[in-house]
């Protein structure tokens, strides 16, 4: 199988630290040359950057203050030329960039502060309270399960000696409690066009989803969830009808519709934590930590589960409109990307390293581009070949698709119905008849076996005093054959002697040069070979069976008998 992908770019040392959520492809300069935008997590604690690749070159870099958790592109206005903006989620903020310049910073609404916590800091501000008392009081609040501000939490982590300084530094600033963005997506506002204005959909650590207006940057809708959202999939239009599918840290997937204020109505409970979620048309695909890929209908009904060879690192939908191809890409920790079309594995892409970031779409001027970033920091780009074909056939073992096709079963005939009735009524009698016949068959077999033993008709001796094994071979194509008789004494320690080998044959057909062979003493375990030539007397291609007897002098019944069917002889040589 030749690869369906062309290797367009390959940089194993791009030193990128990023994930699928932090990659996006967009025509941010409205010149038809789509750029790759990557939020790089840097070292994980500093050096965070927004990087823009034009073709294979790094075109620009912008520092980001906090860890990025998501990057999307969206149209926020109707200005010409149509230039999409970039939104980077980081901490409680969303940074908006337009034309590669910082444009706006949105801060999530602050959360309510615990009354007692507020008062405690108020007292600290006026030095009415000792820092150690403050610490004990805050500690008490925390152990009561109250949600505290970041300031209080940091304060509680300090050594006793640092408390005073920290309190003095911060106590005059107003106390704020903020949340952190966990996931980010876009939702078209009122038109479905490619370049229509979109709202931002933001999931946060305080179990809420916010939908933001792209022009005024106000919160249009807030939905509270039972758990913390990690992946969102959005479709529909904000002003008309939309649906958010949100998978949460409690292992549940909730479906929210326009107008619903909380999302517990439609819920899928997973038996393992989700590591990726994608939606194609109406089906939801979830990759779980237990190395399974699961598929659900929009109603939450489980359609199928596939066990994968290793754990999933990330997932992404491949939507390639020129070919009407919609498949699911699943990156695995064994350096492979598996491509599923429905439940069929249609392609396996080998990668250099474990892929943690995946994006498929238009990059540069190419529509079918797959961008991959790896755990080791590499950046790889593949392009779907124009000649590639994806058959809906399982590349691995599994039920063939034909199994799912309905067979055209003919109508039941009257005969069939009658037979079925008869079988149902006479089941007992039929069973008895069958059993009786079976016993007869067994009896017959046993009789034949005894008879064969009595006549020593089998090539292994059953006589415990003379355990022998016989085998014979015919060599040659005629008219002269060579017959080799092998005898083996199969007893452990008992030698046998006084054995004679002789033959029974049709003397009109064959002539044996040696009709009578006297065997020497047979030592246990060794194989003895005795040979004789046979001449075939018939030229008409007739052949017959020849019997080999092993006799013991003084006994009339052979110990063992072998039957050899002779091959048809070649015509006698013209002599």
């Amino acid at each position: 199988m030749t690869s369906k992908w062309l290797d367009a770019y390959h940089d194993p040392v791009a030193s990128l630290y990023t994930f699928t959520q932090c990659l996006t492809l967009a025509d941010i300069q409205a010149d038809g040359d789509w750029k790759l935008i990557i939020a790089d997590l840097g070292t994980g604690s500093y050096d965070m950057k927004l990087k823009v690749y034009k073709n294979t070159n790094l075109m620009s870099e912008h520092a980001i203050i906090d860890l990025p958790t998501g990057v999307v592109n969206f149209y926020m206005d109707t200005l010409e030329p149509r230039t999409p903006a970039i939104a980077v989620a980081s901490g409680p903020y969303i940074y908006i960039y337009k034309n590669l310049r910082p444009y706006f910073k949105f801060t999530l609404p602050p959360l309510s502060i615990n009354q007692i916590e507020q008062e405690l800091w108020e007292q600290a501000k006026h030095d009415n309270i000792n820092v150690f008392v403050l610490r004990d009081a805050l500690e008490g609040l925390r152990s009561d399960g109250q949600l505290l501000t970041v300031r209080s939490l940091k304060f509680l982590q300090l050594e006793s000696t640092d408390l005073e300084a920290f309190a003095n530094l911060h106590k005059h600033a107003p106390l704020k409690r903020q949340t952190v963005i966990t996931c980010l997506d876009t939702l078209k506002k009122s038109l479905a066009d490619e370049d229509a204005i979109s709202c931002l959909v933001v999931g946060t650590e305080n179990k809420s989803i916010y939908i933001l207006d792209p022009e005024a940057f106000t919160v249009l809708t807030t939905v509270d969830l039972p758990s913390i959202p990690v992946f969102i999939s959005v479709n529909g239009l904000y002003d008309v009808e939309y649906r958010l599918v949100v998978s949460c840290r409690n292992g549940c997937i909730y479906t929210l519709k326009r107008g619903s204020k909380e999302g517990s109505k439609y819920c899928i409970e997973l038996n393992s934590q989700p590591v990726g979620m994608e939606r194609i048309n109406k089906t939801i695909y979830v990759g779980c930590m237990d190395e399974t890929l699961q598929c659900y209908s929009s109603k939450g009904k489980k359609l199928w589960t596939i066990k994968l060879p290793t754990s999933i690192t990330t997932m992404k939908t491949l939507d390639y409109s020129p070919r009407q191809l919609k498949t699911l890409l699943v990156a695995l920790s064994n350096n492979e990307i598996h491509m599923y079309k429905d439940k069929y594995l249609v392609d396996v892409i080998k990668t250099e390293g474990v892929v943690t970031g995946l994006q498929f779409g238009r990059f540069g001027r190419e529509d079918g581009t797959l961008v991959m970033t790896t755990r080791g920091g590499g950046l790889f780009v593949k392009i779907l070949k124009r000649s590639a074909k994806f058959e809906e056939k399982d590349a691995l073992a599994g039920p063939p698709i034909s199994q799912n096709q309905k067979i055209n079963i003919p109508k039941k005939t009257k005969l069939f119905v009658d037979q079925t009735l008869r079988e149902r009524q006479n089941a007992v009698a039929m069973h008895r008849t069958f059993q009786r016949d079976l016993y007869l068959l067994r009896l017959n077999t046993a009789r034949q076996y005894v008879k064969a033993l009595d006549n020593s008709m089998n090539p292994i001796s059953s006589d415990p005093t003379e355990p022998l094994k016989l085998s014979a071979q015919i060599q040659g194509i005629g008219p002269t054959f060579k017959l080799t008789v092998n005898l083996q004494n199969t007893s452990l320690s008992q030698p046998t002697s006084n054995l004679i080998i002789t033959f029974n044959y049709d003397d009109k057909l064959y002539s044996f040069r040696n009709k009578f062979i006297e065997a020497p003493m047979l030592v246990p375990g060794l194989n003895y070979a005795f040979e004789t030539f046979i001449d075939c007397l018939n030229e008409k291609g007739v052949s017959d069976n020849v019997k080999v007897y092993v006799l013991k002098s003084g006994r009339s019944v052979p110990i063992i008998t072998g039957v050899i069917s002779m091959p048809v002889s070649e015509a006698v040589a013209v002599a």
């Binding site: 770019y9 540069g364 001027r365 190419e366 780009v381 000649s387």
Partner: protein, 189 residues
């Protein structure tokens, strides 16, 4: 060939004619190149992405060319093969600044070379490593190694770096193609 044509040629009024097929990925500059080659009075001012294909005419000292300017967009690339049979030469335009899609250009070239109407013919192929003026452009040597042109053994080929905006490099290429096609036509006689 009509009697009139024969007469015209004998009198040296009319040049020999040749068909060339101009292919390459979208945005590589095919239409811009042909526009440069056309006589000044027929030049177009703004060039838009080609839909399907266009037929253009231009001439050199000894040949008059009919060029099939194919669209390079993915959905039109399957049209190319229908013109392989009639053409006397191929101009393959590569955008030397689009490193990402160099593999796609190579893939399309491979498909062209493997096509039954091309495979067993000694048809000359002229490559333009176009957009040499761009900052990211690779040299014509690099371009030819990325496209693995050295593997083409059974066809005459030639690569020129070009700038379709100024016309630089175009004439060198077209001269080469003219010589090749003339050789072929002369040999046939």
């Amino acid at each position: 060939m009509g009697l009139f044509d024969m007469l015209a040629r004998w009198l040296g009024v009319k040049k020999k004619e040749a068909n060339v097929l101009v292919v390459g990925l979208d945005n590589s500059g095919k239409t811009t190149i042909l526009n440069q080659l056309k006589p000044d009075d027929t030049k177009a001012h703004d060039i838009v992405p080609t839909v399907g294909f266009n037929v253009e005419k231009f001439a050199t000292k000894s040949l008059s060319f009919t060029a099939f300017d194919m669209s390079g967009q993915g959905r039109y690339r399957n049209l190319w093969e229908h013109y392989y049979r009639e053409c006397h030469g191929v101009i393959f335009v590569v955008d030397s600044s689009d490193k990402l899609r160099m593999v796609v250009a190579k893939d399309e070239l491979d498909q062209l070379l493997q096509h039954p109407d091309v495979k067993n013919r000694r048809i000359p192929i002229l490559f333009f490593a176009n957009k040499m003026d761009m900052r990211e452009a690779v040299s014509s040597v690099k371009c030819s190694s990325l496209m693995e042109l050295e593997l083409i053994r059974d066809k005459p080929w030639h690569i020129c770096a070009s700038n379709a905006m100024t016309g630089e490099g175009l004439h060198e290429g077209v001269e080469w193609l003219t010589d090749q096609i003339k050789d072929l036509v002369d040999k046939k006689k």
